[in-house]
Structure formats: structure tokens, C-alpha cells
Symmetry: C2
Subunit: 273 residues, 2 copies
Amino acid sequence: MLYIIGLGLGDEKDITLRGLEAVKKSQKVYMEAYTSLLSFGLSADGLSNLEKFYGKPIILADREMVEEKAGAMIEEAIHNDVAFLVVGDPFGATTHSDLVVRAKTLGVKVEVVHNASVMNAVGICGLQLYHYGETVSIPFFTETWRPDSFYEKIKKNRSLGLHTLCLLDIRVKEPTFESLCRGGKKQYEPPRYMSVNTAIEQLLEVEQKHGDSVYGEDTQCVGFARLGSEDQKIVAGTMKQLERVDFGAPLHCLVIVGQTHPVEEEMLEFYKY
Amino acid sequence: MLYIIGLGLGDEKDITLRGLEAVKKSQKVYMEAYTSLLSFGLSADGLSNLEKFYGKPIILADREMVEEKAGAMIEEAIHNDVAFLVVGDPFGATTHSDLVVRAKTLGVKVEVVHNASVMNAVGICGLQLYHYGETVSIPFFTETWRPDSFYEKIKKNRSLGLHTLCLLDIRVKEPTFESLCRGGKKQYEPPRYMSVNTAIEQLLEVEQKHGDSVYGEDTQCVGFARLGSEDQKIVAGTMKQLERVDFGAPLHCLVIVGQTHPVEEEMLEFYKY
């Protein structure tokens, strides 16, 4: 059996009892390491918090490992119980459909243990999940690569009066440009997590380029940091206001507010800039 | 402190450790009873499973109680720890913003414990949560009341190639028409939960009435029953096919499939009719 287990958004206490049971009976426990490990008290040299909590070792599976060695993990799951831990929900912002398809194709039983994901936990700000349009991703701009396909999607959402959840870029274990060119042993960039501030800066740059007045400095937004953690920070304000707020440590995400109902506005008041 | 705690979608084991801790330290535990109690082993005359599990009594709070007596519950939370349990996530399909606003206005601290909700757990079928448009609700039609505002929303989603999550009507503790007219002690209709079959029947009736070819008998959909439970049932097929499927006990929901990516299609294959 391959258990794919959502850990939720906060720390080790956000696993469900069902998830914890599955971890306890698994012979091997893997954990995907490419969304965020920060909130789980993990560091590059150890998984101490979670391992102590579960009483068993965890194999950290970064993006390369999941893509390249998933086959081995799935084979283990033919005869053993194997747990694959995922921050948030297994089918939330980062989906693990590939893994499920590969496992099921090999006849391995898969059980998914759901949990909260950024996709539903943003509901806490009071904007109803019903009234969201398509979710967009904002990638880090570079000198030469400034993709802005999110602009058209935000435009459509706003024309329908819908809110837009913006997922902000995470760069973990990206090979350096030099090591890619040179070949040989890969070297990696330090991890980078996009802040609300950078996201807004990029959004405003794209608006200026296209000029369709989809949004602007005065557009109402909600910025989130460490959503679901005990020290989460949620601030509602205009783009101009939020661009100046220090949200602190990652992960961040951003909601561009569409048309609001009175009950949504009442909730937003508690988070006002 | 008022804890608003999501129970997730399955049974008593789907609460998070954080949620369970909060329940254990609360002096009073309420539970909202108007979404679904079925999966939690509750019956009209007792809350046995959950109460046994928590080792303390639970006060069942139906819609009237939450609306009328929330004030008393919030006042208790000024000096005590009070837990309010919610099926799914506190800000999922049924939102509890009202309660939060009232509590915060009275200066009561509120802590939300997130969990999986139908809004993110539908991701298990392989259709990416990114590619959903606005969520719609399908109400039970009556002889004289056949509201179809969902049709325009589905139309917009489909014109953008997006998937549509349809939440299906739940009628719990609805006063009978007679008792409303007569006044005095209220009497209630037996609970009703809309099936995938009824939803499709109503959807097709509305399409026939409007005739904009937004969808039809051959439109791909995914039907879900008891999502997140051990005996969940997920079937992908055309409206015509799913109309004939027996999904069994509630709760049901339905997704109308938009444009799909290859990896989405691979996952759907596992659920094909």
C-alpha cells in the first residue's frame, strides 16, 4: 500500500489521526521536500522534529528524487506499507497525480489522506471559496524571462467579479546556471520563496506593460504569510499598502479581491492594513 | 477562546492532532449539525461515536441554534475554552464567517483549526484545483421554485475551459410548510440530500429550457459520493452515464469537466464508468 498523506499547513500537529496511523504502520516514510519544509522544523541536515514525533526515520524526497526514483518507492509499496508525506493536501497546490498514476498502473494500492491546503485555508480571510475564479501562479521574473500569462487569467476572473488566488513561486534545489552548462556534479541555488511584496511589484509591472486596467495600486488584496501556522499573518489592503508590509518568513500567497458581499467585507475588516 | 475546528470529511479519525488537543482542553464542545452527521456515526438520539472518542459530551448545534443562540456560546468563550466542531473545513463549502465576526466583535479570541474540505478533496479525481472556475450550488427544485442561476456560472466557466464544482443541496431540519403556516411548535421535514442523479436530471432540464448548449448528455463529469470516507465512490463519465450510476448513501457532489490536460485525463481513466 502506498499512503499519500497530507500534513496540513502548520507543523507536526496538523497531521490527522488517520494520517498518523498510516505513518506508524509504514515500513518506510518518504517526504516531499520541494514545497516547504520550513514550518515543519526541518533543516538541511536533519528532519529532527518530525522524526522524533513519528519515532522513525524519514527519507527526504526532493523534486529530482520523486521524478527519478519514484519507481523504486512504488515497487517497495507492492509488498510493504510505504508513506509519502506531502505538505498541505496531496492534491492541493502541488499535485501528485503522476505518482498515483504510476502506482496504480503497477497495481499498487493507493490511499490518500486528505488535509487542509492553501487552496481552502485561504477561506479564513472571509472571502468565500465559492467566489474564486481560476488560480494563478506568479513566477520569479529574471532579466530575460518575464512570463505573464497570469494577467489574462486575472482579467477574466475580475471581469466576472471573482477573487483570484495567486500562488507565489518557490525555488528549491534549482541547479545553478553554471553547473548546468559545465555538466558534472550539480550545484544548487539557495532556496528562494517569493514574498507578497515581490508578487505585487511584478503584478504592477505587468499591468503597466499591458495597460488594460485589470488592477492597479488601489486594488484591494489580501496578503498571507505562513497560512495555517500559529504565527500566520494576514493583512487586507490595497496593492500599494501591502507592497510596504513586512510579512516575514515564507510561505506567502496573495488574493486579489473581486466583488465582495457584506459578510465578506465584515471579515476583511479584522485584517485591515 | 473559541476554537473553530474542522473535522475533515471521513470519520472521527480525520480530526488533526491540533484539533483533538483543542477539543480535549475545551470545557464545552458544540458541533454544527446542518451539513452532515452521517459519516460521523451520529444519529438523532445520540452522538455516541464522537463522544466516546473525545470522552466528553457534545452539544449538537443545528442551524437554528447556531443562528439564534450563537451569542450564548460566544459569551461562554469569554472565560472558557469552547470548541465548535465543523464537518470539513471551517471556511470550506459552509462558511462560519458570521460566527467569527460576532466573536471577534465581542473581543473573544478565535482560533481556527483547518482540515480538508470538499473544496480541495475533489482534487483526488485528478482534475487540478487550479483549473476550477466559480463553484455553484444546485438546489432541490420544487413544483414552483426552480432557480437556475448556476446555469450562467457554468456557462462562464465552460467558456474559459474551466472545471465546475457543483455542491448539491442538503435539507436538514427544514420546517414543514404546514407548521410554518400554522405557527406554534415547529415540525420538520425528514432530511434530504441531493444525489448526483437528481443533480444531472435538473442540470439537463435547465439546459433544455435555456438551449445555449452549455453542456449536454455527452458532457464529461465526475460524480463523488462520501468523498474522503473509506467507502468513497468516484465515477467519471458522461452526464447520461452518471445519471444511471447508483452512488449510494450521501453526501454527493458533481464536477463538470472543462478542458483537460493529459495528466488529468490519465487520472480520470482510473475512475471511468
